[in-house]
Symmetry: C2
Subunit: 642 residues, 2 copies
């Protein structure tokens, strides 16, 4: 039989209900549900939550519009949690509401008063004896026919009467949702600033150590390294992805494995495992975490190919099948066959894949950027990620899920902590607005966390190709203020903008295939701008969350306007970006004052965190003017003048 | 472990997955699902469906846009069914696609041809021996190095090769959704035309028999009678819902029960059980089914009140609690307490409620209009409806769920066949458009079936109050052509339009409290119009479904334009309604020619089923002009001139 009270559409949840929704420790989780029953009784509801196998904590829910109830709870530890929603009929509140209406309408309420007395009498029996006398007094007053209705009724107005029922274990029609799983991550799972670099271009791990002050100085907190393993010699790619290579070509780090080792070995040019420890430790001293690439594919020279031929696809001529997407061939890479013919082989392979992670976790790595997860079975990830996180709940997985939306969402649902997104290709006002609203409020919001990248070593995206400082600043501001997690690939701050071909997203002389020497002190670079953006992200709690973004209207289709505010409106940031790198755009913008927590009839200040200019505005339609070629954004801290 | 292939968002389904989606026998059910896996292999999918515990039937699915797959199946019998979606990797199709691309690109495909030969060889072993030789021949050709690539490849183009794999039991990565329940109703559950009348106003059952030719003549197929049971004497309501009654007042039929009996008794003024049989039988001869009211409430005089005091709420002064919604009191009705204090009482009460239905089903009734289901527990309905339908799958329950949207949807989800809707109050173009799109394509579409009523004995809705023929025709056309099920309450065809008070939806001299004598031959009545509308509903299969409605644009906000077409476009109806009863509205309308199945560059005819006028149109922006005060609608049959 179903419960007397309907508790439906309980959020947060992942669509299937099998995998957990995601939350962050020390941040509140908003639980909501449709709660209703037949008739007109007053209902009460609560959320019960706990770390898995821990003690339940109860939080009372409040009723919002349209039978939607909500409550917040705040997990303090990371790892698996669960919650459920309970509802019951509150006979006393129902009585109190109805008797008040009848009394106001001048009706005889003597029988109702007796009903109330009986209710209180019954519930008081559940209280400890010392607390009962005051209830007996209320009951006596309710039954005292020498008093008027109003006076008798007033006796129930005392707060201890309300508390009696709030705390009472007598919960009529008690109904419950099923337990809903929630995975609680550390804060960096949601709020992180990534910087990607190729250590081989900096002289290996020890050379990279020397760059830590620079990267940390810009305000990043995650330093992501492409694969650091030996690179295959067979069919190695040359510069600019050439099919043949010269003797001195270094090859793509994603062609993993040589006679020197595979996914747990280090490329000799980068250093030793001790050098790697030094890098991890030094990075930590600078507030930086090292993120490694987890790319489950092999060069033909990878030790696995000889040791475990059953983990690869074979062809009738005895050769190992290399990667291809007909008619394209990727001769330097062989894909792993995640479904070998026997279950034992499968189990050994999957364990071997997990052991790679175990190895690097043991060496201090807690963040993995996962290469092309959509080309490996969902079942593999659904097994792997919980298997790792149950021992190491601090481990973060970023999915390089540049694939179709349903697969992207599915990877997030089955366990990936964060995901690359389509932000890289969203450039127009409407598409940015729609995409952000979808990410923040759409069906994936409970379990998919975006990480916005204006560029990657694979993608010099449209507007950046041949672009100047304006567009590089614009895309950085959008990524860093729209999403709590974002990242850039080294060279962005130098405005590297040359594509391999006019219609190609690949960089010319891509660092994937050769060593790059950069002058990071190049005049006119964006280091100061990047540093300031990351400073503002640290200063403003409002920028460290996703599901608080609100768009505001601007008639000018090149001006995009959005705000983020903390729940208590103590920190409010308004961002205005000129999307036109061609020059000046201006116009009135139309602010939703409530979202900014200001009274627009009185003056308020908007202080630009980029220029330190302070504007004083009254009303909700200020005029803005931004030069897209040079200074394309305002990042405004909004405060009412008191 | 999760399946290798993701099969997600499988439709049709009810939200919780516990209760069945709804379908109709001899009409196709569209199943769809998101189906994808890692990598680029070609997938295949099928729907397996069966009547519960019957044989599974397989239907191959086709891939639509964005990884959404679909297939149709057609249940033939009513009752519980289930289906599931299966998907697998089609290695042969993958091979065929890839080898063709490589061959076109001029690559060496000798190893690929051997791969294909091996695949065919393996699969042919699964075939019966007599069919194997032709495959051996193909394999030999594939391996014949004396032939060119093109010739060898062509050998696999034969249809029996494709069939080999389509029928093969070798299904790699075979994955399956869970079984999804579907309840299959008879067609009347979806497509029905209701007429409501009070038999006491027509002289009881035998008097009603005399009106059957009139009701059937108008084209209705369900004749719904308000409660036919003895009416309580205590606190009986007088005319116009007066709190006191005169000796000759007949009382509300919803105050069920007197010393003469309760829900299985017949009011003596209406006739005997034999008369009732006569009515049911005669109605059937006219193609009409009798629908009874199932109103689970009692007058104080109902036998249950004395026999089963535990089934009612009692007050401290010993009285039985009558219905109220403070400060309003309904002294002629006592509500049932569906949760008596013991489980045994509850079980006896629920059984007694079911026995009412069993009784009337045994007397030939198969349709019940359920009064205020939202004031009884959802758990009760979730138990009752399946308990009845498992023995009598032909029984239809219409929910009078005039309540909030979430409750309305929930009642549909747990089992109600049809539901009254908000159509009664949707009068503007935008709200009608939004509401119909929600009902036809929104989240409730898989399990909630609307029944549109322009009026009921309780509701003389806004536009009808004081309205003339134009608005009565308009609301009828909207109800009867937007929804496959609709109904009117007697008097509509006479354009009865006097409200009890100017701001009230109650009728003046409501038939709920008195006997009405009507002259059904009143000049200027809408009998002919109603008859024609129901004729058009019978003629046009397109009007007998909901999920085919498409709205077309019209600049004039008083002109609403929509079409319905059968899947094969063999029957296409375009409806244009002038929503302004004040007079003429005209303008260009903008037709979506694809939805109408016409080529707008060539002439097509639009034949008005109401006026028999035939228009010849070319292009997709015809001009229309309708007089809302008189003839407010076109119901146009669209056919291309060939």
């Amino acid at each position: 039989m179903i419960d007397p009270i309907e508790i439906g559409d309980v959020r947060p949840r992942a669509p299937g209900g099998e995998f957990p929704a995601k939350a962050v420790a020390a941040r509140s989780v908003r639980v909501s549900a449709d709660i209703f029953k037949d008739g007109h009784s007053v209902l009460a509801a609560q959320v019960l939550w706990r770390p898995m196998n821990g003690q339940w904590t109860a939080v009372r829910m409040a009723a919002g519009a349209n039978y939607r109830w909500w409550a917040d709870f705040q997990p303090e530890v990371i790892g698996p949690h669960e919650y459920k929603v309970q509802a019951w009929t509150d006979h006393f509140m129902t009585w109190q509401r109805d008797v008040a209406i009848k009394h106001e309408a001048g009706q005889d309420i003597s029988v109702e008063l007796e009903e109330g007395a009986a209710l209180i009498e019954l519930s008081a029996l559940e209280m400890e004896p010392s607390k009962r006398p005051r209830y007996r007094e209320v009951v006596a007053t309710l039954r005292d026919e020498s008093l008027g209705f109003a006076e008798r009724l007033a006796a129930t107005g005392k707060s201890f009467v309300t508390e009696l029922f709030a705390d009472s274990p007598l919960r009529h029609d008690l109904s419950s949702s099923r337990p809903m799983p929630v995975w609680v991550d550390r804060e960096r799972a949601l709020y992180s600033s990534w910087y990607e670099l190729f250590p081989r271009s900096l002289g290996g791990f020890m050379g990279t150590v020397e760059h830590l002050p620079r990267v940390a100085g810009m305000g990043f907190d995650v330093l992501y390294l492409p694969p650091i393993h030996p690179i295959g010699a067979t069919a190695r790619k040359g510069r600019n992805n050439a099919v043949t290579h010269e003797p001195d070509d270094v090859g793509s780090p994603w062609a993993i494995g040589s006679k020197l080792g595979g996914h747990t070995a280090i490329h000799p040019d980068l250093g030793t495992i001790d050098d790697f420890h030094a890098l991890v430790d030094q990075a930590a001293e600078h507030g930086l975490e090292i993120a490694l690439d987890y790319a489950l594919q092999c060069s033909v020279d990878h030790p696995w190919v000889a040791e475990h031929p059953e983990w690869f696809h074979h062809r009738p001529d005895g050769s190992i099948k290399f990667a291809e997407n007909p008619p394209k061939k990727y001769q330097d890479i062989v894909p792993i066959n995640f479904w070998p013919s026997t279950d034992r082989s499968r189990s050994e392979l999957w364990d071997a894949c997990k052991q790679i992670l175990d190895y690097w976790i043991a060496h201090g790595v807690k963040i993995f950027r996962v290469d092309n997860p959509h080309t490996k079975p969902l079942a593999f990830w659904a097994w792997l990620i919980p298997a790792v996180q149950i021992k190491h709940p601090e481990v973060i997985f970023l999915a390089e899920a540049f694939t179709h939306p349903k697969m992207m969402a599915q990877l997030a649902e089955i366990g990936f902590t964060q995901s690359y997104t389509y932000f890289t290709w969203r450039t127009h006002k409407q598409e940015l607005t729609d995409y952000l609203n979808e990410l923040a409020y759409g069906p994936t919001a409970d379990y998919m966390r975006p990480n916005f990248w204006p560029n990657t070593p694979d993608i010099l995206s449209g507007p950046l190709r041949g672009g100047g400082p304006g567009v590089f600043k614009q895309r950085l501001v959008l990524a860093a203020t729209m999403a709590p997690s974002y990242g850039i690939y080294s060279g962005y701050e130098l405005m590297e903008n040359e594509p391999a071909r006019p219609t190609d997203e690949e960089y010319l002389f891509s660092e994937k295939y050769e060593i790059k020497h950069r002058d990071f002190d190049l005049p006119g670079n964006l280091v100061g701008f990047v540093t300031r953006i990351n400073e503002l992200r640290r200063q403003h709690r409002a920028l460290r969350q996703l599901r608080n973004i609100r768009f505001h209207h601007a008639d000018n289709s090149q001006l995009i306007v959005y705000s983020k505010a903390t729940h208590d409106l103590s920190d409010v940031v308004l961002v205005v970006v000129n999307l036109d790198p061609g020059g000046v755009q201006e116009g009135l913008i139309e602010l939703d004052a409530a979202a900014l927590g200001v009274d627009p009839t009185r003056p308020y200040t908007a202080t630009d965190g980029l220029t330190w200019t302070e504007y004083t505005w009254t009303g909700n339609t200020p005029f803005v003017r931004l030069d897209g070629a040079d200074q394309p954004a305002h990042i405004l801290h909004i405060t009412q003048i008191t």
